[in-house]
Structures are given as structure tokens and as C-alpha cells.
């Protein structure tokens, strides 16, 4: 258990830094992330003062773009995660607790959703909707709740047969009360773990969508788009890909550490 706790501590420390960057990033960023500030266009400058992480082909400062991008990545990660958790938990609770026909219907819907590759579904949804930050929140939430619903349902399936639930039911408690006071509180630890894990999932998905050119549209800088724009330059200007890539890796690791730490045994449920 000591391993898990230090993992959690490491994750939280990394997370704190990420939040700090996301909050103060735009104020400490040396340049406007969307403006051409380099003395030259078309030829990216390697990392050197005053552009500490170099510039891209449009003459923008990579460091500033990275700092601004942190806010978007974290925001998308957390908000989309919240959407995911709300939908997934509600469906999982309903299916597990009520069982029978409700379970069958909800789980078949889940199966149908699972049958579509998440990224493909997200691409289709973004194509139909107007691309914006809010679209991305909703789309990511809509395509990633299935795993959550399944884990929560299996937890609830065993919980509802436990003595304290039966006792509450015998005392005449309503479903709403039982769900809130007896079932939900007992799945909170699981929810926290999956939430942390799904945050890293949503950050990756957001980066993936941006990489495919359909994420949050420019001029907003996102890590995924930075990587995408860097692909044409990966041999002549590898730093363009390296830094945002490292940033995505850092953010994903952060939330994975938190999830594994929370799970206590180094393994996250439903992962």
C-alpha cells in the first residue's frame, strides 16, 4: 500500500503543477500564442532565447502555445470527464440497481455505443456539430461513458444484495433515497478512480481529435493541433512535435498516477 500512496502523492504533485500552469500560464506566457512573433516565417526556429522552445512555421512561439494549450487540455480533460462520469454513473446505477428490463435496455444501449470505435463516433459527431470548445466537451463525454457505466453497474449489482440495502428497503425507503444514501456513496471511491483515469483518456481523445484537425478550432492553441502541425516538420524541426508530445504524456501520466494511487493496489478498476 505504501507504493500506491506515494504514487498518489506523486500524481497529486504533478497535477498541482499542471493546474498551476493552466491557471497562470496565459499570464506568464511571453507572447501571444496566435500571433507571428518570430523574425521569419516558413522556417521554424530551434529552441534558443528569446524563444525558449523554438517557433513554428507560422512564426508563433512554441512555449506560449504550450502554456495556453495547458488550459484547454486541462479544461477539456476535466469537463469532458465530468460529462462522461455523469452519464456513465447514471446509466450504471440505474441498470445495476433496478435490474431486469431496465438493465437489459440500458446495457444493450451501452453495447451499441461500445460497438462504435470512440474516435470514429467523435469524428462523426464533430463533423455534424459546429466545432467549438463546447462541442468537444459534449462529444467526448458522449462517446466515452460506456466503460464507466459498465464498471458502476457491476459494483451496484453486488451492492444492492448487501444487508444494509436490504435493510433500508425493508424499512420502506424509497428508491431515490436508497440510491443516494446507500448505493452511490459506496461507489464513490470507484467513481474517483475511474474519473482520474477517464481524465487522461479524454485528454488523449482531445489531442487525437485536434490531431485529426477537428478539435478545438484555431486560433486557440491545443497540444493535439500543435503535434498535428508538427508532423510535416518532424525531420527538420523535431522540437515542434517533442514539446507538445511531452506535455500530453505528462498530463496523461499525472491522472494515471492519481487513479492507480487511489485504487490502492496499483491497479485501476475497469482499466
Amino acid at each position: 500500500m505504501r507504493g500506491a500512496r506515494s504514487l498518489l502523492r506523486l500524481g497529486l504533485a504533478m497535477g498541482a503543477f499542471l493546474v498551476l500552469v493552466a491557471v497562470i500560464g496565459p499570464t506568464v506566457a511571453p507572447y501571444d500564442p496566435a500571433a507571428p512573433v518570430a523574425p521569419q516565417l516558413a522556417e521554424p526556429l530551434p529552441p534558443a532565447a528569446p524563444f525558449y522552445l523554438g517557433t513554428d512555421d507560422l512564426g508563433r512561439d512554441v512555449l506560449s502555445r504550450l502554456l495556453y494549450g495547458a488550459r484547454i487540455s486541462l479544461l477539456v480533460g476535466v469537463v469532458a470527464m465530468a460529462v462522461t462520469m455523469v452519464i456513465g454513473t447514471a446509466i450504471g446505477l440505474g441498470a445495476g440497481y433496478f435490474g431486469g428490463g431496465v438493465d437489459v435496455v440500458l446495457m444493450r444501449i451501452t453495447d451499441v455505443m461500445l460497438a462504435f470505435p470512440g474516435l470514429l463516433l467523435a469524428v462523426a459527431l464533430v463533423a455534424v456539430l459546429r466545432p467549438s470548445v463546447w462541442t468537444i466537451f459534449v462529444v467526448i463525454g458522449l462517446v466515452s461513458w460506456t466503460g464507466v457505466a459498465r464498471v458502476i453497474r457491476s459494483e451496484v449489482l453486488s451492492l444492492r444484495e448487501r444487508d444494509f440495502v436490504l435493510a433500508a428497503r425493508a424499512l420502506g425507503a424509497r428508491h431515490g433515497r436508497i440510491l443516494r444514501r446507500h448505493v452511490l456513496v459506496n461507489v464513490v471511491p470507484t467513481i474517483l478512480v475511474i474519473a482520474a483515469l477517464s481524465t487522461s483518456g479524454t485528454i488523449l481523445l482531445d489531442a487525437g481529435l485536434s490531431f485529426l484537425g477537428i478539435g478545438v478550432p484555431p486560433p486557440t492553441s491545443t497540444w493535439g493541433r500543435m503535434i498535428q502541425e508538427a508532423t510535416a516538420y518532424y525531420r527538420v524541426a523535431p522540437w515542434l512535435m517533442l514539446f507538445p508530445g511531452a506535455a500530453v504524456l505528462y498530463a496523461v501520466l499525472t491522472f494515471n498516477f492519481i487513479a492507480y494511487g487511489l485504487a490502492g493496489d496499483g491497479r485501476a478498476p475497469g482499466a
Binding site: 521569419q40 516565417l41 512555421d57 507560422l58 484537425g213 477537428i214 484555431p218 486560433p219 510535416a232 527538420v236
Partner: protein, 537 residues
Amino acid sequence: MRTTATVVAAATRHAALLLLAVLLGGCTQDRLEWPTREPGSRRGGVLRLAAGDDVPTLDPALGYDTRSWFFEQHLFETLVAYDERAALVPALAERWELSADGRRYRFTLRPQAVFSDGTPLTATDAVGSIERVLEPRTRSQGAEYFRGIVGAPAFVDGSAAHVAGLRAPEPAVVEIELAEPDPLFLHKLALLFAAVVPAERARRLGDDFTTQPIGSGPFVLREWRRSERIVLARNPRYHDSERPYLDGIVEQLGVNPELSWLMFESGELDVTSIPPADFPAVMRDPARAALTIHATALETMFVGLNCEMPPLDDRRVRQALNYAVNKADVITLLNGRGVEAHGIVPPNMPGYHVELAGYPYDPQKARALLAEAGHADGFATEIWIQGTDTDMKIAQKLQQDLIKVGVQLAIKSVAWASFLEAIRQPKTVPVFDLGWSADFPDPSNFLDVLFHSGGANNHPFYSNPAVDRLLEQARTVLDETARFRIDAEAERQIVDDAPIIFLYHPITYVMHDPRVHDYVIHPFLPARVTDVWTDPE
């Protein structure tokens, strides 16, 4: 008339994956056998090329894109064709005469013209080829070019079995009679739609003609594996006893520009485009720069402004946007591979010249014009682009420039087909990134088709009765100098009305292996490799 997207750098994101596929696939591909080369001869050798997309068709009645035309012009011949400087020259027709009233052409075919399968090529084939294009069931986009021939409308609606104005009085003589004099008719005959095919067999083969093409061009189709490779071999019956020098052309398909470059660097290709990332380094290295060739394309890249959608319906706003964009920067972003556009017609249009000031970069003037139009605080609008890397790059550059004059430009990236569909709808797309490349070297191919209020390609929905009148007037003037004067007047008026942001005329660069000689870029057609020869191994 080809609508073009910026293709300097198409999507490169799957480069690594594709590389893997080619490495794996390369081992299983059959080896092609070619004749052994005689020492000291220019003849022999194979040109190795690569391209991203498969070839849409090899049927000249159907092809209407650069990819199809590249192959078609090596398989087929037209009565007249263009030389490297875009001048009309004899091809299948040795010579021709035009009657004094400008309505009757008489073409004399080259003697002993023969198809690649050995059957003689006669005037009947030339007549049948144009009839095949006009026939509704062929569904050729080229049909519109030949409606002006006497009797064509009756033939199209089925009331006549043949086109009355298309005649073959002798086996080697083709006569064409037009309803009205048409200064562009020879250009229309030089289009690959008018390529001479064995018409009867082409009709019988129907949809299979594209896979079993028979023509009289310098090459014949040897193999076409869809999305894998296409191979042409020398036509032994080609009329020129010396050319083509090459034994064949092998083009690998499914190779994006980035991968094409890597393959070129490892010696697997003879000709390639140069990705933007590598371009500066190539040009700084004199040895490699010497292997590049370039030519300004007969093409104009622009940003369309929907003249029916406020606030773009105000000319001052459209002019302001033109002043607000730093075209020199846009060209720098393309590694300098472009010429600033001052008007619509590219500067290298043969015989046509008009001095235009265009819209030099002047954000202050832009702000003043916006204020005059009542938009001192700017406004928000949206640009639609096709999602290639280059389009996205240019859109972001426009975003950077326009925000300086208070105009917020949102970027909407859509697939090519939906993009073309959307810009045709009235009041749908306010701003869009597009290009236009010439089908034939005449200013009307830019002015009339893009800016006549009735034009199918007038996507900015621009309408100026004065301009319409001039363009219609130019349609029947046979004297080129007089016609170009009218065209120039129309262009001046269009530039002043600013229905588009005039961006640039692209400069095409390719790099070739040192063993390849005489590879040239054509001003508006795909490269023709009949004159290309290679050093022996």
C-alpha cells in the same frame, strides 16, 4: 475548368504508416520486365513516379482532372495541342484552315495516322469521338464545349443520328461548322475531351474503355492495379520514329508528398514534389537546387467573398479585406513558391497583359474603409477551407492579419466534396479558400467562367451588369487584340469590385534525379514526358 485546392502539401499525417506499408508491400510487388538498353542510346529506361490518389479514369470523354489528364495525354492525341510555351501547334491534324466568316474549320490529318492496336485512324474516328462526348449517355462534362457545332443540339436531344456540322468528306479530312464564330474553338479542340479514339470500339466497350484504352499517343497502358500502380509502355506504332525515349512510366499510387520525398531521397523515384519542411534546405544546397525546376502555374489562388452576404455585400468591406491581408507573408509561408496576385488572370497568360495595382498590404487603409462602411469595430465571419495542411496554414495567416483590423475569422474545415457543394449554395458560405487553374490559356477561362453572373463557377455570387456585358461581348470577337482589350476592361472592373481576396499565383517546383533529362513543367497542363530521356544505369 478545374477548381483547385492548395496541394503544395497535402496531409502528411500517415507518412510513417504508409512508409511501413510500402516497405512491406515492396517485397511482394512483381518486378516489371523492360527491354535491355542499347549502350550509348538515348532510348530506353523507365521513369519512376509516385502519386497519392489513384487515377480517376483513362477515358478522355470523362477525365476532367490533373491526374487523369497526365495519363490521357500520353495515351491519346488531339487534333491540335499545346507546346511547352502554351502555344497551339499541330498534333493529329497536320494543318487547318478557317473560313473567312470564322465558322468553318477544315483539318487535314497526318498521313498514316494509326491507333496503338494497328488499325488506321481516320476522320470518321475524329468525328465519332466528338459525337461520343456529346452523346448524353456518355455523361461527359466536356459536352458543353462542343454544343456550338451546327447540329449538336439536335444530336443531343436525339432528333438527329449525327451532328450535321461534323463531317469527314475524305478519310484524312475533318470539317467542323460552327453556329457562331468562336475565338476559343481551337482551344476547345485541344482539350483531352476531343482526343481521337476509335469511336466505334469505345462505344462498344462503354465503361470498360477506361481500362482498355486505345489511342494514338506515345504510350500505351501496360498495367493498372487500382490504388497500387499504373504502368505505361512505349507505343511501338507512335508516329515519331525517335520519341518517346523512355521505355515506360511506372507510377506508384497511394504515396503522399512526404513519403514521395523520402522515396526520392532513397533513390526509388525519379521525380518528386518538395515538402515545405524540406524546401529551404534543398534550395540552400546548390547541388540539390540545381536538380529542381520550377514554373509559374497558370493558376490563381484566392479567397472568395460572398457578395450577397452582409457585410460582404459592401464593396468597401471587400476592398478592406484585400488591403488587410499581407500577401507577401502568405507567399513566404509557402517558401516563396508563389507570385503575388494583383488581379485574376495570371501574369504569364500568353498575349494578355494588363497593369493592375491590386491591393498592396495596407492595414490602415483597411481600417479606414471598414470605418467608412460602418464597421469601425470590425465584425465576425467564417472561412471555409478544405482541410489540407496548406489551407489550414493560410487560413491561420488570414486570421492573424484580419484580427489586426478587427475582423474575427473563424475557420471551418470541411471535406472537399462537401466544400464544393456548400460554396454553390446561395448565402451559405461567407468566405472560402479556393483556386482556379486554366484549362486553356485564355483570359476568358478565368474572367468569364468565374465572374459572369450566370457562371456555374461564380461562387462569390458576384454580379455586375457592366462586367457581364463586356464578357458577353468578348465571346464572339475573333480578333485577339480587340478581345483582350475588352477582357482587360472587365478585369479592371472586377478587381475594383473585389469579389475575392487576390492572393497569389503558385509556382510549381519539382525535383528530379540527376539521371533524368529534359523534364519540363507545363504552364497549365500536367507534365508531358515524351521528350524525357535518362542516363543509362
